[in-house]
Amino acid sequence: MTPRLRRQIVAVALFLLLWQGLVWLIYRGSSEGHLLPSPFEVLAAAKELIASGELARHTTQSLLRVLIGLAIAIGLAVPLGLVIGWFPAARDMGEVLIDTFRPIPPLAWIPLAVLWFGLSPASAIFIIVVGGFFPTLVSTVAGVRGVDRGLLEAAYTLGSLGSIDLFRRVVLPAALPSIMTGVRISAGLAWMSVVAAEMIAIDSGLGYMILNARQIFRPDIVVTGMAVIGVIGYAMDRFLFWCEQRIFSWRRSGRAEATI
């Protein structure tokens, strides 16, 4: 076990202990009607939800929406970002629009989404697209703008003259680390957006599960839902980070300092 992993386990254990302590302090042994459920009650609720298949159903719904939404967002943001990053005219035009749209939170789009798509998964997916679009767009633009001029010149002198060839062999790979970072941020935002959208626009998914649990007065289910959202978000980020490390292994350095 690495020291890092050990510390992480300690942190989680400490948090659970604190939580349990707080519950114990507030309720002093009374066992009914806790508005703040204890970790054990949450665990029990989770077991119940797993047994009934409800948790799996809602989780798959949410994940599926995020995957679809994120795919659309990335599919739109990357090509657009490449164009805006590359052509100065497109950059001047694009930047003012991006910087105006970006501060509008995905939540603010929900009323429009409901008007356009009704109370349907399409609404949720729309919100995810909006949430996931901008981080990838902005970092794609930054990635393209950040391509070292010297690399382009090197490519010119090596016979790469067509702009498509230059894009494929130089601009895209050079910008890819920045794009990947954007995708990671997008995934996080998309995941947050899906929960919000499901609370308002549809009747399935983790967001819906939480909201519904409030209405039937089950705070243990609310917290279970929150915990699942947190854990999945964490896992998603770790997974994408791991992908980044794998794809961009060329960025690690210092394997050999040999003589000339």
Binding site: D148, G150, L151, E153, A154, A155, Y156, T157, L158, G159, S160, L161, D165, R169, V170, P173, A174, L176, F248, S249, W250, R251, R252, S253, G254, R255, A256, E257, A258, T259, I260
Partner: protein, 261 residues
């Protein structure tokens, strides 16, 4: 036979509305298989001159001509017929050494098999066999510079252009690298144009030395130096040539200072 001819080349930059004359009326020839150095103090436009030859900057006036298929052809854009080694080497960091060397061959449409074969050959030439699968971040500065040379040579250019390739090397490594470059030059029988501010580089390596003076960049003198190789740094003609270049480049500093005061 003339391999490369720079004929009345001028370069004027426009910086915030004011024009800066970087090169004025530069003319010189590079013979086939010759090793030519362009030397001068910083600000003399030597890198600009090399970039004009590479086609990365367009000359404001005059011409650069390259011997291709039996006749002198004007150069207007960059191309793999002039291999360029940049001071910062500019290797593609996401490609291994081998795949960097293959870049220009991909442009030419060579098959994977042929590319691998050629890359192997050049890795051997620069003494990096066994390092082909390393990324630039995993190589030392000198090794990166050698990959850059191999990459520039892989497309079999008419001339090899080198922009201060020794700039980041310490004195001992520099001398080693000079010999390495000589060996590569003798093995590949290429025409080489080297830009440097180091007199020892120029005298140790060159058949012809183009001395530039700054503000604007103009030719001070073109010197042919026919001393046989390997050259001894303590030989009389070497010392004499160093002194001559020192005075050509250094005297000018006094001129400059006088003009400024």
């Amino acid at each position: 036979m003339v391999k490369l001819r720079v004929s009345n080349a001028t370069k004027v930059f426009n910086v915030n509305g004011t024009t800066v004359e970087a090169l004025r009326d530069i003319s010189f020839d590079v013979e086939d298989k010759q090793f030519v150095s362009i030397i001068g103090r910083s600000g003399c436009g030597k890198t600009t001159l090399l970039r004009v030859v590479a086609g990365l900057e367009a000359a404001s006036g005059g011409k650069v001509l390259l011997q291709k298929e039996g006749r002198l052809t004007e150069i207007v854009s960059p191309g793999p017929d002039r291999g360029m080694v940049f001071q910062e080497h500019y290797l593609f960091p996401w490609r291994t050494a081998r795949r960097n060397i293959e870049f220009g061959l991909e442009s030419k449409g060579a098959t994977a098999e042929r590319r691998a074969q050629i890359a192997d050959g050049y890795l051997k030439l620069v003494h990096l066999d066994g390092f082909g699968d390393r990324y630039p971040s995993e190589l030392s500065g000198g090794m990166r510079q050698r990959v850059a040379i191999a990459r520039a040579l892989a497309t079999d250019p008419e001339v090899l252009l080198l922009d201060e390739p020794f700039a980041s090397l310490d004195a001992l490594t520099r001398m080693k690298f000079q010999d390495e470059l000589l060996r590569i030059w003798q093995l590949t029988r290429k025409t080489i144009v080297l830009v440097t501010h180091n007199i020892d580089d120029a005298v140790y390596l060159s058949d012809r030395i183009v001395v530039l003076k700054p503000h604007p960049g103009e030719i001070r003198e073109v010197i042919d130096y026919a001393s046989p190789r390997p050259r001894s740094r303590s030989s009389a003609d070497f010392v004499e040539m160093v002194a001559r270049l020192e005075s050509l480049i250094g005297v000018h500093q006094a001129d400059d200072d006088r003009r400024l005061t």
